[in-house]
């Protein structure tokens, strides 16, 4: 990493205004009802930037939309048809204020969508994106990214990584694109000294101590690897699970989808991809009615094994990023923290 910089908060809005001329801007914005979402910045002057609350959803929908057209088809005759891939233009987008968990999730999706079959729609959006991360000085009530080891501060993955030092941000350039921004608009950035680095480390220590939850993900991972998680755990979870799939929809790393054709006329239509969830019976049921995942508990088991066992075996780390969103949305009490508590036996 090259020399660090500082950005005074007074100059944040001018910088964003400058950047908005080059990029589509997405940032955590508070809407009139008091909810915070990552959303496109329409007008920098009217921007209600909210860096104090966790955005309700991750950045997943921007890269992997809930529903999108991936192809269109036309029947030429009863025997023949053409199918044309659908390419959606995505303008160059700068994502500002990306939380450590959401950043980690994008890095995970990069792997999922580029290995094996390359997912062109995702990759097109990804290649046209710039990520400006924001370290979390104060973890939110449901957060446990320390336990999944991808937060609260990040050292890599973002193009630029910010730390809030009070009246200024410490700016670290993580990747070439970030360095290019520093080089192109140097007037916004000053040089950071020893003091800023010391302060950042102090904030990191305090943030690490600020988690309100203890979620022993490592114990759960170990016990899953050793095959020590009791069948009763899955039974208990399946009794509680309300099958709403809210966890999968808010999860920044859940990437299951389904594909369906929607006719638009007698001879033409579009092929859609939408989010799906592995816990739905319809996700695994075959056309003839047979479902290889017989028990509800098996469907739930699969979800947690995927996150904490299969992905650990495959990629060396779990695909839970500790954002805690499933804790907020789950109304059966079968979220990740609950599972870890039951599975780790602690």
């Amino acid at each position: 990493m090259t020399m660090n910089h500082i950005l005074k908060k007074d100059h944040l809005l001018p910088l964003l205004r400058r950047l908005a001329k080059e990029y589509r801007l997405v940032a955590p914005i508070r809407n009139p009802h008091g909810d915070t979402h990552y959303a496109e910045v329409e007008q920098v002057d009217a921007l209600d930037l909210d860096l104090d609350h966790q955005p309700q959803e991750s950045l997943k929908p921007f890269f992997f939309p809930q529903q999108e057209t991936i192809a269109t088809y036309t029947a030429l005759s009863p025997e023949a048809y053409t199918i044309a891939p659908h390419s959606a233009f995505t303008p160059a987008t700068l994502y500002f204020g990306v939380r450590s968990c959401d950043l980690a999730a994008i890095l995970y999706m990069d792997v999922v969508f580029s290995q094996g079959v390359r997912e062109v729609h995702y990759l097109a959006r990804r290649h046209n994106s710039l990520l400006v991360g924001l370290n979390c000085n104060a973890p939110f009530p449901n957060c446990f990214c320390d336990a999944t080891k991808n937060g609260p501060f990040r050292e890599m993955g973002a193009d630029l990584q910010l730390t809030d030092l009070g009246d200024r941000f410490l700016v670290e350039a993580g990747r070439a694109q970030g360095a290019a921004i520093l080089a192109r608009w140097p007037q916004f950035f000053g040089a950071a000294g020893e003091e800023e680095s010391r302060k950042q480390y102090q904030l990191y220590l305090e943030a690490r101590g600020g988690f309100q939850r203890q979620v022993h993900v490592d114990s759960a991972i170990r016990r899953l690897a050793e095959g020590k998680v009791d069948e009763a755990v899955w039974q208990q979870l399946s009794l509680r699970c309300q099958d709403c799939a809210g966890c999968a929809y808010v999860c920044p790393t859940c990437t299951c989808f389904t594909i369906m054709d929607r006719p638009q006329s007698a001879t033409a239509g579009e092929r859609l991809r939408s989010w799906d969830a592995c816990t739905f019976a319809g996700f695994t049921r075959m056309a003839g009615g047979h479902n290889p995942v017989v028990q509800r508990s098996a469907a739930i088991k699969n979800r947690f094994l995927h996150k904490l066992k299969y992905d650990v075996e495959k990629h060396g780390r779990p695909s839970c990023v500790g954002c805690g969103r499933c804790l907020g949305i789950c109304f059966g009490g079968t979220d990740m923290a609950r599972f870890v508590e039951l599975a780790s036996g602690e």
Partner: protein, 537 residues
């Protein structure tokens, strides 16, 4: 409604939903809570995690029953007998709350005399619940310091629905389990705004805020406000409308009686004989297809206004998108219609309608849109602008003054099984669909999870009937027959079958009986006699 209104003076949840979490004992009766009220079930299960005891009274072994400390699997339609049995045990073991009965209730002696004449052996025979189990449940409930009873349609949809509710109220009063925080009697409402509809007088006998139509004082109040003269006779109940012959025209809003009402052939005959039928709904329902005029109504996200939920909480919902496809908010439809009928209603906004509600409905007296903008809504009764709302009811005294014990005796179901129709049919909901499917059947993901009606059959019965899992059978009652697929499950006891009423492809209400509770006129959806026939040999 009728049951709790008589005994307590108010027909609504006495607690806030969150209070359930703090209870030591939760008695859930006739409620498939995890499927029908998942948000309430969450509180129950959280309470269980904190050590609360859960007693489930249900003929079916539901998911909730599997989480229960005690599951009393009674025979369908024997709730009164079971509750009386529990109360008798409480009396015998001196677990009742003398002081509460003395201070806050009346007519206890009538209940006591009835209970002392009760034969517990007979109760066991009627309900099929072992005496020890019943006694254990009675002790658990009576000894708790904080106990709630949650009940739902499994209690009300019987010919003795009102008596069932009153028996529940008797049990709560006998043990002093009302009038406190985290303690009370909680009927769970089936829709987001059914409480609000009742509050606004969408009932035959009351104006908004439960002001009786028969009382001249209230009539005058509304006549003055609206500048019309109002009938002194209560209107017809839903069942009397859809099963009667007296009506010439109907305007149906957001209701699909051609799927949801019992004995559908009769409903179809009634609706078919109308000179004029208008329906307003989100989609073209089975009922709307019969209508002469259909008004496309706006969905929740396309309009602003309030909903009043089960716990009497009035919450503001805000419009997020413009109505699609020519749909209009209900209020706009009603106002235009009223204007054409010579009764112009000039409200500029839902907030203005709310102001009139506050003016005329005392329990909503302090509820205005500006107060709902922030926070989490207000729970009625809310008597004035400064009033903070009421999380739990009947503090200091019951709404009607003293709680009134109404002893009830076991009433046999209207149609017990016999040789010709040997099985008891019970109907309800499944998790992934809602009511007549007007909304949920439009959603591909939900349809994928529950795409057709399934008849739950106990494996022992299936073996006797020689039917397999997944097989399509014909289900026959005295009123009609439908074909549907079988799901073998231990969830239903031998001798009973269960299915849902969501699917027009298999409209189960063609079979159900229109026999109804004499007071509330709620039909007995939960019990009728049927037989299963094989379709292909």
């Amino acid at each position: 409604m009728a049951g709790l209104a008589t005994t307590f003076g108010s027909g609504a949840m006495t607690n806030a939903i969150n209070e359930i979490e703090e209870a030591q004992v939760i008695l859930a009766s006739g409620s498939n809570t995890t499927e029908a009220h998942p948000q309430v079930a969450r509180r129950m299960l959280d309470a269980v995690d904190r050590g609360a005891k859960l007693i489930v009274i249900d003929p079916r072994r539901t998911k909730l029953a599997e989480c229960a400390t005690l599951h009393l699997a009674l025979r369908p339609g024997t709730d009164i007998a079971l509750l009386n049995g529990m109360m008798r045990v409480i009396l015998d073991e001196n677990l009742h709350d003398d002081l509460f009965i003395e201070m806050r209730t009346e007519n206890f002696l009538a209940l006591r005399d009835m209970l002392f004449r009760l034969d517990l052996g007979e109760v066991e025979a009627i309900t099929g619940v072992a005496l020890e189990k019943m006694a254990a449940a009675a002790r658990l409930y009576a000894r708790a310091q904080r106990a709630v009873i949650c009940y739902c349609l499994g209690i009300t949809q019987h010919i003795c629905g009102t008596d069932n509710v009153q028996s529940i109220a008797n049990l709560a009063m006998l043990t002093g389990h009302v009038e406190k925080e985290n303690t009370g009697v909680d009927p769970l409402r089936g829709q987001n705004n059914v409480q609000g509809a009742c509050d606004m007088g969408a009932l035959p006998n009351v104006f908004p805020s439960y002001q009786a139509v028969s009382e001249p004082e209230y009539r005058t109040k509304f006549e003055t406000a609206w500048g019309v003269s109002l009938p002194e006779k209560p209107g017809l109940t839903l069942l009397d409308m859809t099963h009667g012959t007296s009506l010439r025209g109907m305007f149906i809003m957001g209701e699909n009686p051609l799927l949801s009402d019992p004995h559908l052939d009769k409903v179809a005959a009634t609706l078919g004989s109308l000179e004029f039928l208008a329906v307003s709904d989100l989609f073209l329902t089975e009922t709307a297809k019969l209508a002469h005029v259909v008004f496309p109504a706006a969905a929740f996200a396309e309009k602003s206004g309030t909903f009043t939920n089960s716990e009497r909480r009035v919450q503001l919902a805000r419009q997020v998108i413009a109505p699609l496809g020519g749909a209009r908010p209900d209020s706009a439809i009603v106002m235009d219609l009223a204007a054409r009928l010579g009764m112009p209603m000039e409200y500029d906004s839902p907030a203005e309608v709310m102001e009139e509600i506050a003016l005329l409905a005392p329990i909503y007296g302090g509820i205005f849109h500006d107060r709902l903008e922030t926070g989490w809504g207000l729970q009625w009764p809310c008597w004035g602008r400064e009033h903070p709302g009421t999380p739990y009811l009947h503090k200091y005294y019951f709404t009607r003054g003293k709680g009134h014990f109404v002893p009830a005796r076991h009433v046999p179901a209207s149609e017990p099984p016999d040789e010709e129709f040997p099985l008891v049919l019970n109907t309800g909901r499944v998790y992934h669909q809602y009511h007549t499917g007007t909304m949920t059947r439009q959603c591909p993901t939900l349809n994928r999870e529950a795409e057709r009606a399934l008849l739950q059959v106990n494996p022992a019965d299936a073996q006797r009937l020689n039917i397999r899992n997944g097989e399509t059978v014909r289900l026959v009652s005295r009123r009609g027959a439908i074909e549907l697929a079988v799901l073998l499950t231990e969830e239903v006891a031998s001798g009973s079958v269960y299915t849902s009423f969501h699917f027009p492809e298999a409209p189960i209400n063609r079979l159900t009986t229109a026999a109804a509770d004499p007071k509330a006129r709620c039909p007995e959806y939960k019990v009728c006699a049927v037989r299963v026939e094989r379709v292909s040999p």
